[in-house]
Structure formats: C-alpha cells, structure tokens
C-alpha cells in the first residue's frame, strides 16, 4: 500500500459515494489511476464493501441484540458460524477469543422477535449457552464514529 492508496481510502471513507473523478481531482492523479488502484484494493480485499447506513427505527425495528454464544464442547465453531450466517436479521457475526466463543449482532423488532431469535440459536446443535445484551440504538450497521476513525488514520502501516 502506498500514499495514494491511503489517500483514496480516506476520500472513500469520508464520502463512500464520491466519484473517481472527484477523488482524482482532490489528490492530483488521473481518474484512471484511481480506478486502477480501487480495483486492485478491492481484489486484495483491502477495500471491503461499502453500504448505506439506515435508521432501523424507521423500518419497524426497535433495537439491536448482542448475542454471546458458548459453543458445545467438542463441536466445531465453524458449524455455528455457518448457521448464524444464514439467520435472518443477524447482520454481523464473529468467532471471538474471550469470555464466549461467538458473538452475533442482530436487528430486533420486538420482544417476540428476540425470543424467536434466541430460541433458533439455541436450536443449533453445536450451541451450548446463549446470553444477550439489548440496546435501543437503531443505527445500522454501526454509528457514524467508524468514518471518523478511518479519516483520522494518517500513515501507511
């Protein structure tokens, strides 16, 4: 990764929908260079997806659930991950190192939907224990702090 790559990343994090032409003008390279570097960074998976942020409260959701899962002994964690990835409204999941084995974040509508979700996770054969924390925050997928963090990065690693 070079300085230009980093500048492109910064422009994209400031405004993910900015055109290549505008990025090119801002950082003083040709639009073709921007496009080439963008494609390369996507292929290398330095740049991941871009997405819009949504206020879920406008769409019938009332919050998010953080679901902390302990895997059953002698069961593969990847089995649980696969099941979580297929689960409706679970939009982030990860294996973790710490107090639990896996963490899933889901958008929830009401008490009934929380119960359904927890029950269907409990039904995954490789799951041992499920604990949850609930938040009334309805920013999808995360709050805006993430953009600020990225645009403050000043040096290439």
């Amino acid at each position: 990764m070079d300085e230009i790559d980093l500048q492109i990343i910064k422009e994209l994090t400031r405004n993910p929908q900015i055109s290549f032409l505008k990025i090119a003008k801002k950082i003083g390279v040709s639009p073709i260079t921007v496009q080439r570097k963008h494609t390369k960074m996507k292929e290398e998976r330095t740049l991941l997806q871009s997405s819009i942020t949504i206020d879920l409260s406008q769409l019938g959701y009332n919050g998010k659930a953080y679901i902390m899962i302990t895997n059953a002994p002698n069961q593969e964690r990847t089995t649980t991950m696969e099941a979580l990835r297929q689960m409706q409204d679970v939009f982030i999941c990860t294996e973790i190192l710490g107090n639990f084995d896996l963490l899933a974040i889901a958008a929830v509508k009401n008490l009934r939907s929380i119960i359904c979700l927890v029950n269907s996770i409990r039904k995954i054969p490789s799951v041992d224990r499920v604990e949850i924390a609930l938040t009334a925050d309805t920013a999808f997928p995360v709050s805006r702090d993430f953009n600020t963090l990225l645009s403050n990065i000043n040096e290439c690693p």
Binding site: Q49, I54, K64, I96, G98, N99, N147
Partner: protein, 175 residues
C-alpha cells in the same frame, strides 16, 4: 446491572432522531435499500435496471428515503488489518452507578472507537473498537478499571468478523 427505567432515561446517549410518523416503504424501496446495503456505490442506472424503473425514479426514491431519515449516510469498510489495526474487539462494561458519561469520555479519548451503545442484559455498555496492539487494549482496560462505579470489564477479541448485511429482513411498510 441497571433497571429498565434507567435505560429509557439515557436516550440522549443514543444517536436517535425523535420518533416521527412511520415512513411508507413499498417493495421497490425495499429493493433499492437492499441494493445499496450491498454496495453503496452501485450506479443509479444499474439499480434502475434491476428494479424495472427509470434512473430518475430511483434518484427520487433515494432522495425521499434520505429526507424521511431512513437512509442516514454511507460507510466504506476497510480491512483494518492492512492499516495496522490488528485487534478488533468488543468490550462489555457493567456499571453500578451513573458513570456512563465518564466512561464514554475515556473510551473516546483513548480508543479507536467503532461504535458504542448503552445496553441492558449481560452488560450495561457495549463498545466496539479496533486496537493496534494488545498493549493498547490492556492500557485501556487499566484506565477503565480506575473509574469508580465500574463493576466488571470483559474484552473479547474478534477473530473472524463476518458482515452479512443482506440478512436484514426488510419488509414493505404501509402507513
């Protein structure tokens, strides 16, 4: 652990617009939202083609969704590892007094914050961040431990984060 009443009193900590009337969302709006969740840079022309309407119609619908406060912005995700942030983590904090503003201040000053939210259940405050080193995480933990009112801090390192935004089960909403 905090009571539910306490959770509702701290709404100001959560960035949430005041409740307005419900926006009407039809099948095409849902489709547009789905496309933009997958790729915020998708061209209007391509969305229009997928939805079977004109580019102008797509543009107007996106504009309406923005004005109504459904679409609030856009995010570009970056492989943080490539930028030297090797440790994505979540921190759960249990508080036994109203120390939240103080804790949030420390976190904002010290950590590379991705998101935080007051929560009920397993923890009272859930924080997501990325750290450059284990030392950085440890230092943050020590700083937090010094605060009065903190009962318990748990740090979990994310090893295989996986974004499945398309799992969001968006449905049309009638007024």
């Amino acid at each position: 652990m905090q009571t539910a009443a306490y959770l509702f009193n701290r709404d100001k900590l959560i960035t949430r617009p005041t409740m307005t009337h419900r926006v009407e969302i039809d099948e095409i709006d849902v489709k547009i939202l789905r496309e933009l969740i997958k790729d915020a840079r998708k061209r209007l022309k391509d969305i229009a083609k997928d939805c079977g309407i004109s580019s102008t119609a797509v543009f107007n619908r996106i504009k309406r969704l923005k004005t109504a406060g459904v679409i609030t912005g856009a995010v570009q995700y970056v492989n943080m590892e490539r930028l030297g942030y090797l440790f994505p983590a979540s921190i759960g904090i249990s508080l036994n007094s109203n120390q939240e503003p103080q804790v949030i201040r420390i976190i904002k000053e010290r950590a590379n914050l991705i998101a935080f939210a007051p929560s009920i259940g397993k923890s009272d405050l859930t924080i997501f961040l990325v750290a450059k080193s284990m030392n950085e995480l440890d230092y943050l933990k020590q700083q937090l431990k010094k605060e009065a009112g903190i009962e318990r801090i748990t740090i979990d390192l994310w090893t295989t984060p996986c974004l499945n935004f398309e799992n969001l089960n968006l449905q049309p909403i009638r007024a």
